[in-house]
């Protein structure tokens, strides 16, 4: 390096020192890079944003025409010009709630098992299994729910309605104690669809919770043990409070997924447009299953009504996911812990 400059110096004419320009601006190649990257970003922004705007725009004529009755009417009979989503929304929430009630304790327990109880050698296998569970296509869970789960779950349904039938949600409109009980009254219900959806919610919620539980500060864990806590005592005193944000956030993410799930629900339920809280009884309807079932024969105004139902669903899932993101973001991060 030095020899080269020394050899070059005598031949080259000595010029005045020029200060380097410290902010030369962007090189031409970078200018191209920036504009290309920005245009891609803007394109994706426009594309994805336009979906939301499009759905909202399509909803205007329907909402204008049916007004508030769109939200209060339960029947969906376009041929009679009676359209409403109250029963559909109720069904959507029933399926999602069943899924959450089943998936939430299992997800918390599985996340705790992976982060606290599993032997170290099994841990990475367990994480892979949960990821695999998330990757299984929803139609496969639909098949599982319809062919394997349903014939078994109707016994549970009947049992619940026999002994808890005095609660309105567990009531089924048939005699559960009859010698030949009406099995078909217990099939294709929101309960069974919810069980299948729980299989999709569970890995999603579990992955978020496990990530947060694993970050629970080691110093506080050791402190709890040093004070004589049992393992469960440590979990209750350290891991669960630390992971509260992750638990809520993961559950909300799962709820968002459960509300939008289509094909597994479509396979299991038989459509019914009644406002009913009897989740064990045959027949219910969810928003996405309604869209998948009705888009084919829809005229343009009916399509607009379906799009409106979809828009309402989108607004709900968007709200749920936003709340989830806030909770996950607010959860105490490992950076603030003292060791």
């Amino acid at each position: 390096m030095t020899t080269a400059t020394q050899a070059a110096q005598p031949s080259a004419p000595v010029s005045e020192d020029e200060p380097r320009v410290l902010d030369p601006g962007l090189a031409p190649s970078d200018r191209v890079f920036h504009s290309v990257a920005r245009s891609i970003g803007v394109f994706v922004l426009v594309l994805t944003g336009s979906i939301g705007l499009f759905l909202g725009y399509q909803a205007i004529p329907t909402l204008h025409r049916y007004g508030l009755s769109f939200f209060t009417q339960s029947q969906w009979e376009p041929e009679r010009d009676v359209i409403g989503i109250s029963a559909v929304l109720l069904g959507t929430f029933e399926v999602a709630l069943v899924a959450l009630v089943v998936a939430f304790p299992l997800a918390v327990a599985l996340a705790l098992y992976i982060s606290e109880y599993a032997p170290p050698r099994l841990k990475s296998t367990c994480v892979s299994l949960v990821d695999l569970m998330a990757a299984v296509p929803s139609i496969v869970y639909g098949l599982w729910g319809f062919f394997l789960l349903q014939p078994n779950a109707i016994f549970l349904s009947r049992w619940l309605s026999q002994y808890l039938g005095f609660l309105p949600i567990f009531k089924v409109d048939t005699d559960p104690n009859a010698a030949v009980w009406a099995q078909s009254r217990y099939t294709a219900s929101a309960f069974i669809a919810g069980l299948a959806v729980a299989m999709m919610v569970l890995p999603l919620a579990c992955a978020v919770m496990r990530g947060v539980f694993a970050q629970a500060p080691i110093g506080e864990r050791e402190a709890a043990y040093a004070l004589g806590a049992t393992r469960w005592g440590m979990i209750r005193a350290v891991v669960l409070p630390f992971g509260r944000g992750g638990i809520i956030g993961g559950t909300m993410l799962g709820l968002g997924r459960a509300l939008g799930e289509t094909v597994a629900v479509l396979l299991i339920i038989s459509p019914a447009f009644d406002i009913k809280f009897r989740i064990l009884e045959v027949g219910t309807q969810t928003t996405s299953a309604l869209i998948a079932g009705r888009f084919g024969e829809a005229t343009s105004s009916q399509l607009s009504a379906l799009l409106t139902a979809g828009f309402v669903l989108f607004v709900i899932t968007l709200g749920v996911n936003t709340v989830a993101a806030i909770f996950v973001g607010r959860s105490r991060s490992g950076a603030t812990t003292e060791i």
Binding site: A27, S29, F33, A37, R38, I40, G41, V42, F43, V44, L45, L47, T48, I51, G52, F54, A109, L110, L112, Y113, I114, E116, Y117, A118, L129, L132, M133, A135, V136, P137, I139, V140, L143, L148, N152, F155, L156, R158, W159, M199, L202, Y225, T230, R231, W232, G233, I235, L259, G260, T262, L267, I291, A292, F295, L303, L306, G310, L313, F314, T317
Partner: protein, 371 residues
């Protein structure tokens, strides 16, 4: 405690350092292992509850159903386990053991559910997979009740591959380009892009299909083709790929970027030669996650592509079938043969997802920075 009750004066002068006979040396509490007491109460409670529930459930009350039996058994087990443990242990230990039992049982239950899903699908689909024509023929002219020696899912496999390939070609550059824009270029607008992209991951998959259906097929009058399905898949994939790619690019150490710039490289050169190669395996993971999601998507395909029974590899003309759609239509037809075919296709789909999944694991294991 013991040393206080026994004054040290009485200790024999010959052995001043020896511990008094009744003082136990400190031993750490076993946190990970189980004592004999725990094992025996566990085993006893398991056996006792099986016997009890069998007697009550099957013999006295004459209920039926495997699921109900298991539920009752588990509740009886927890009660017995708590009762046995509380005979010789304080309350925190009882709670600890019950919690451990509940957590282990939940993990086993989830494992059982996942295992039963996969094994049941494979077992039901196995008869279809035994015939070679299942892989080499399509369903043209084959009724849903035709024997398994006729017809196959070649058209669905081809359709899935074509649709996913087009969706990847569209969504990969857009997704990674968006991620590069959000992490490397930045600026005010990038925050808006990030917010909207994150919001769009909440889009229920069926709405992506409905969007393409309403705009492309109803408004512009295109027929239902593989291209429409691929576009719907791309719409669902772009936010997924963009978000996970952004996470990967964000963890590339800033020092590497600065080193590249300090060597006189332009930002584009730094991104192309340093940042993207460093994050290569993570980006591949993001892509494969997106593909795995798209391969299994049924709802958008159901709306946009139309189900053909014949082999069609041209995405611009004619309807095109795909594996999830084939599964859905076969199972819905209700014919036993068609259901077996549907399960066979589901096994293929699971295998495809599994291969992608293994590839993800393999790529994720490669360390960042080795290129």
């Amino acid at each position: 405690m013991a040393t206080i009750t026994k004054p040290p004066v009485t200790a024999p002068p010959g052995a001043p350092t020896a511990t008094p006979p009744n003082q136990v040396a400190d031993r750490p509490r076993p946190m990970r292992t189980r004592t004999l007491d725990e094992w025996t109460s566990l085993g006893g409670a398991l056996l006792g509850s099986v016997a009890l529930v069998w007697l009550v459930f099957e013999k006295i009350l004459a209920w039926s159903g495997t699921l109900g039996f298991l539920v009752c058994w588990y509740i009886a087990f927890l009660a017995l386990f708590a009762a046995v443990t509380s005979m010789g242990n304080p309350r925190p230990v009882v709670v600890d053991r019950l919690a451990a039992a509940a957590i282990h049982a939940s993990a086993l239950l989830v494992l059982f559910a996942l295992g039963s899903t996969i094994i049941y699908t494979i077992l039901k689909g196995f008869p279809a997979l035994l015939h070679l024509n299942f892989f080499t023929q399509d369903m043209a002219g084959v009724g849903p009740d035709a024997p398994l020696t006729k017809g196959g899912v070649l058209h669905a496999i081809a359709g899935t591959l074509v649709e996913v390939a087009i969706a990847v070609v569209i969504s990969l550059p857009l997704g990674i380009g968006t991620a590069v824009y959000m992490t490397e270029v930045g600026g005010r607008l990038s925050k808006t892009v990030r917010t909207v992209v994150e919001a769009m991951t909440a889009l229920p998959d069926i709405l992506a299909g409905l969007f393409i259906y309403t705009t492309l097929i109803v408004a512009f009058g295109f027929p239902r083709t593989g291209l429409a399905a691929a576009l719907a898949l791309a719409v669902t994939m772009i936010p997924i790929i963009a978000r996970s790619a952004e996470v990967v690019l964000r963890v590339v150490p800033g020092g590497l970027r600065e080193a590249g710039l300090a060597l006189g490289a332009s930002q584009w050169q730094t991104v192309r030669r340093v940042v993207l190669p460093t994050a290569k395996s993570g980006l591949a993971t993001a892509l494969i996650l997106g593909i795995a999601r798209a391969v299994g998507e049924t709802a958008p395909v159901l709306i946009t592509s139309g189900a053909s029974t014949f082999l069609n590899v041209n995405p611009l003309n004619d309807p095109m079938n795909s594996l999830p759609l084939f599964i859905y239509t076969s199972v819905r037809s209700g014919q036993p043969q068609a259901i077996v075919r549907g399960f066979g296709a589901a096994t293929l789909l699971l295998g495809l997802v599994f291969v992608l999944f293994i590839a993800t694991r393999f790529l994720a294991r490669q360390r960042v920075g080795r290129r």
